[in-house]
Amino acid sequence: MSEKVLMKGNEAVAEAAIQAGCRYFFGYPITPQNEIPEYMAKRMPKVNGVYLQAESEVAAINMVYGAAGAGARVMTSSSSPGISLKQEGISYLVGSDLPCVIVNMVRGGPGLGGIQPAQSDYFQAVKGGAHGDYYLVVLAPSSVQEAVDLTMEAFDIADMYRTPVIILGDGMLGQMMEPVQFHQYKGRNLPAKDWATTGTNNSRKRNIINSLFIDPQELENLNIERFNRYKQIQEKEVKFESVNCEDADVVLVAYGTTARVAKSAMSRARAEGLKVGLIRPITLWPFPVQVFQQVARTAKAFLAVEMSMGQMVEDVRLAVNGLKPVYFYGRTGGMVLTPMAIVEEIKKISGGEKND
């Protein structure tokens, strides 16, 4: 087992990508994720990789398109406003079935917003921030170690299903330091990238990377084929953590760093005799629907907590499907939640003062 090192979330994500075989990084600076490009600038030349600071986010995502089309493992990172700029490119990557990893260390919005942590890009990441029929696999780490593990796996998921994968963190995860261990990257058994434009050597038919299909029947067929892959992802790639749900009256639902605050709140509430549990979706898409169906049988209510005005709560409502009330509590604009405030919300629900 490797030695424990103390790293910022941003640095850890960058190192994990390199250890997973990422050799191309294209980005443009923005707080609070700058340690990712900074780290890549230092490390990439040492592993014969390419680090390039593009002239804009739009340029960076299109460089990702090029590298992915050539079959390389490639990553870009940004924060909220920068990710908005990348949306056209993301849709093209999806339309061309290109694997890549995109990191969003979310900050407060909308607009230029602020630079403090937020979770207000959930809709953009999970519901399709760009045009067209598509989903992205969205992974939401809640610790620096998990950011390492999920970043490594993200490249495999991307290659396996030929899809962009989003690592959805926030400014807090990017900036905080925790001990991490880098386990030997094993990787999955992946199909060969026989679709990549690697040069034919006059020995095979040429490959074409393209997202323009004028014939509607052809485009429909391709979209249906892609959704068949999405179905496999929904069946095989769901990840979540559930804690203390067996006897819980109120089940907290939170992802990313907010889930840590929720865990602290759960401990405090339990110490006061309140039966509280937690469901932490790790994949935001595919959303862990089944666990909600199961827990809804015994729980009395759900409380979604987010650093937003309420986005994931909609998926919680869809998953609970009316079986039990679903409440929401959040802070936004870069304000973070405190365990005490969550405990207060739990008490309001238990006392019947809060409406869903």
Partner: protein
């Protein structure tokens, strides 16, 4: 028994607040504890106030944000003004009295006012007042031993600054024994 130390360190940018936090975090990690380090980030870091939240615990750490610290290191007046009231009753407040022109008002905490910057200047490097305070912090709280703190220091002082290592250790010892 409280096995979780929640420390807020605060001061001006440039006083080594972030480094002091990293040092305690690293030492906590070497001591086999769970740790988290969370900096304030953004424009306030340039010349303004900077702070970091360090948690050292025997248990898994939930929120890395500290609302009510068990210990506060305040290296300037705005930091003391901002965080004094947040410290838990019975907690510790360490201030650099060379730079703060008032005393700690709270009567329900352990308040220790050290002229850390003056001590550091007397020893030859005023910029290492942060180490004087960290030395005192670990004596008062027992978060880690002095030996582990020194070991951590050796690991995190960058190679190009090795000549500062001895000086840093001197400052820590001054704080610890002072």
């Amino acid at each position: 028994m409280n096995c979780t130390h929640e420390i807020v360190m605060a001061g001006f940018g440039g006083q080594g607040i972030m480094f002091a936090g990293k040092l305690v975090s690293y030492a906590g990690m070497l001591a086999g504890k769970e740790i988290s380090w969370l900096p304030s980030y953004g424009p306030e870091m340039r010349g303004g106030t900077a702070n970091c939240h360090v948690i050292v615990s025997d248990e898994q750490i939930g929120s890395p944000i500290i609302t009510n610290p068990t210990a506060l290191i305040a290296m300037n007046r705005p930091s003391l003004d901002k965080f004094e009231d947040t410290v838990v009753p019975g907690g510790l407040i360490l201030t650099d009295s060379s730079l703060i022109n008032r005393s700690v008002k709270r009567k329900d905490v352990v308040a220790i006012e050290i002229p850390a910057t003056q001590h550091a200047i007397d020893l030859g490097e005023g910029k290492l007042a942060n180490m004087v305070l960290v030395g005192r912090l670990i004596r008062e709280t027992g978060i880690v031993s002095l030996d582990i703190l020194k070991e951590a220091l050796k690991k995190i002082v960058p190679a190009r600054k090795q000549e500062l290592l001895e000086m840093n250790i001197k400052m820590i010892e001054l704080g610890y024994n002072g």
